[in-house]
């Protein structure tokens, strides 16, 4: 290989340069924020399903809740533990998780996701 040193340094510089946004992000963003529970959510001890599942799959669940309620007219969710919940983001989820900024927004901002739920659904009023 000709100019081995130059070529390899070039490749290294190229890789570092193009991955720099990710590297900077890794250093700058710090640890992910912990969602904060409202007093009511704390008291309830458990969400509609287990915590791990909710953390991982709440988006999938909300998607299904929306489809079942709006399109199928099925507005009761029977959880795996047999408890029944009204299928409603605005009236069920947010009734407990009334601290949207600390419970939803923190993580969504950190992960740079921008769910547009709140353009229509009314977020609970928070005491600031």
């Amino acid at each position: 290989m000709y100019n081995k040193g130059l070529v390899i340094t070039g490749i290294v510089i190229f890789v570092v340069f193009f991955t720099s946004p990710f590297l900077i992000g890794l250093v700058k963003s710090g640890p992910p924020p912990e969602p904060e529970l409202s007093p009511k959510a704390k008291l309830a001890k458990q969400c509609v399903e287990a915590k791990e599942y909710m953390v991982e799959s709440h988006m999938q669940m909300l998607n299904d809740w929306r489809n079942e309620a709006v399109r199928e007219g099925k507005r009761i969710y029977v959880a795996t533990d047999g408890k029944e919940y009204t299928v409603s983001l605005q009236n069920t989820c947010m009734d407990c998780h009334s601290n949207k900024s600390k419970f939803c927004d923190q993580c969504h901002n950190y992960a740079a996701v921008n769910p547009y739920c709140w353009e229509c659904h009314i977020a609970p009023k928070e005491k600031l």
Binding site: R66, E68, G73, R75, Y77, V78, D81, E119, I122
Partner: protein, 264 residues
């Protein structure tokens, strides 16, 4: 290993299909966490073809306004007035000659000529808006309600062009940053809409689901001016009222088969 482009694309397609079809309930079952399911509310009303009968003789201007106000408050409908033709309405009034064109004549009874007729989505049995919707954001439920799924609406407004009754309104602006900028939406339990979607009367599907009457019916229940019920049920109130009184529908000649009747 040699793999043709064709087989690679096939595998790619099949694998995304597998990822996409797992619902949250499937995920729970797969993780061995148990079985969850969805069910309709047992309190909910069920019917095969919901209809409204509006008794125009029992509706004066005040009660008409009461019905409109009740609906628009419950559904957070912004009141833009007529400004810039950007009005949003689920239920409104118009004159007889506009509501029932072709049946008016020069010597119409004075009472009918000036009366504000209460108009709303007809929840047609053969809805042209549903036929043209490219995303199925509007569709006909099994109980006859012509529903809107705001999540799916792309704002193309084909439905507005298709609807011969003017029952649909387009959100030219975001109600949150305009009408509801300085005031709270009146019903915190119901969403508002966003810029770029079409909206209309949903026959209070969310209220029927918990066993409540449509808001307009409830608002004028003292006068019994609007009757709600299932046309397929021969013993329903709507059928009884229709049996006893002569009633007309808006533009029946178009073949959309409206489900809102008017006793004049």
């Amino acid at each position: 290993m040699e793999r043709s482009r064709r087989s690679f694309l096939k595998i790619l397609g099949i694998s995304t299909l597998g990822l996409g079809t797992l619902s949250s309930v499937d995920l729970l079952a797969k993780a061995g966490m148990g079985k969850a399911e969805f069910a309709p509310d047992p309190k909910g009303m069920t019917g095969k073809r919901w209809a409204l009968v509006v008794d125009v003789k029992k509706l004066d201007e005040d009660t008409t306004q009461k019905a409109i106000e009740a609906c628009h408050l419950i559904h957070n409908v912004p009141d833009y007035g007529d400004e810039d033709n950007e009005e949003i309405k689920w239920i409104w009034t118009d004159k007889y000659e506009h509501a029932f064109p072709g049946t008016e004549h020069e010597y119409l009874a004075a009472e009918i000529e000036e009366k504000p007729f209460l108009l709303l989505c007809n929840h047609c049995a053969n809805p042209p808006c549903v036929r043209v919707c490219p995303t199925q954001a509007t569709w006909q439920r099994e109980d006859g309600i012509v529903m809107m799924d705001q999540h799916r609406c792309i704002g193309c407004r084909y439905c507005m062009a298709a609807c011969p009754f003017g029952a649909r309104s387009f959100n030219w602006k975001d109600p949150r940053t305009t009408y509801f900028k300085d005031k709270e939406p009146p019903n915190p339990k119901y969403p508002t809409r966003t810029k770029g979607v079409v909206e209309k009367c949903n026959l209070c599907a969310e209220r029927l689901a918990v066993g409540e009457m449509p808001a307009c019916v409830e608002a004028v229940q003292d006068s019994k001016a609007i009757v709600f019920g299932d046309l397929e049920d021969p013993h329903s109130e709507v059928r009884e009222v229709l049996h006893e009184h002569f009633a007309i529908r808006r533009k029946p000649e178009l073949g959309t088969n409206p489900n809102v009747y008017y006793i004049v």
